[in-house]
Amino acid sequence: MIDKRVATLADAVAGISDGATVLIGGFGDSGVPVELVHALLDQGARDLTVVTNNAGAGESDVAALIRERRVRTVVCSYPRSMGSIWFEELWRAGEIGLELVPQGTLSERMRAAGAGLGGFFTPTGADTLLAEGKEVRTIGGRPHVFEHPLPGDVALVKAHRADRWGNLVYRKAARNYGPTMATAAALTVVQVEELVELGDLDPEAVVTPGIFVDRVVEVAAS
């Protein structure tokens, strides 16, 4: 029998290793798996590479992980949100690395990893600082940058509902990086607001099929 449900947040993040690359969903405050990130904080893994859109804000979730010196490098598109003080402080002190990736390329690189592709050419970033050191090829008369797949050891995702097979639906714009990150990690861990019975999700409306999901944990909506 397939049952991807785990009882506690600690079970959900068990086994994440030091040095892991962790994909963390969310855009601004929406769709952030806050409780999973806090569980990871408690779990203790360090020397992490965190792939996420922003670099955290305030004292919560990704910002807390950074504050506690658990993150070696952030791979993201916009580390300068309002209140991202911890990232900025450590960055200025040279204590944290940054790989800056255009937002669409960040998402597409994770998709390539999930899709088993070896990389792709994109016009985004051509002729800019972010193409420096990268292979550039003219395709259709236009410069394109070669981008590598970006796989994760772990993905932490927030969804709305799941069943025991790990099928997911999301809520509104909280969907953002979740479906892509779920495909790109060796271990995909999802927090949902509600667990439902197998068969309760409309098969036409499942956004992330359970094949991409390893563990789901129910966390009441805050």
Partner: protein, 222 residues
Amino acid sequence: MIRPLSDVAVARRVARDIPDGAYVNLGIGMPILVGDVVGPDKEIVYHSENGILGMGPAPAPGEEDRELINAGKQPVTLLPGGCYFHHTDAFVMMRGGHIDISVLGAFQVSETGDLANWITDLATMPPAVGGAMDLAVGAKRVLVMTTHTTRDGRPKLLPRCSYPLTAAGVVDRVYTDLAVLDVGPAGFVVREMAPGLTRTELQSVTAARLGFPDDVGELDPH
């Protein structure tokens, strides 16, 4: 005497160029104003790179939903006919040329249509790019909305950008508080000017050489 247009007047001018039925992405900052001044006679579908098509106006106070925000992380609403999708698909729309019009802010625009709008100073703040590069390379038409000069009076329309580029050769038209200018094969061509402004005055606050056809129109300052 030079009477620059207000931001809202510039937004109204941009809105006039957005046809009924267009798919439009409004960048963070000044461009967002355009959404407030498009007439009710037009049905426009607004795209947000975090995974929304068919964004409506801001919700009433108390009706905000943290999972329904725009790319600027402000609460929005969804119109009937709107829908949600994941980040990677949001950028398929942008990079793939499916967005009719992208309205962007700018630090600098060159006479060859290069755009610099993501970073001015690499040393003191961590660099951040977000979706700027994807928006600039992918839309069918890229419109820039900006003040004609910087706050301290330096020109923003230049022979060549001095700040790091967002994308090269992408800008179609620029709307400033002083003029509307097309980017043509021979550089900037002035289409409309603020009332009372002379060609010499406009050229004096523009570092790039301006082309003036016979039929330059007058901007509506309201």
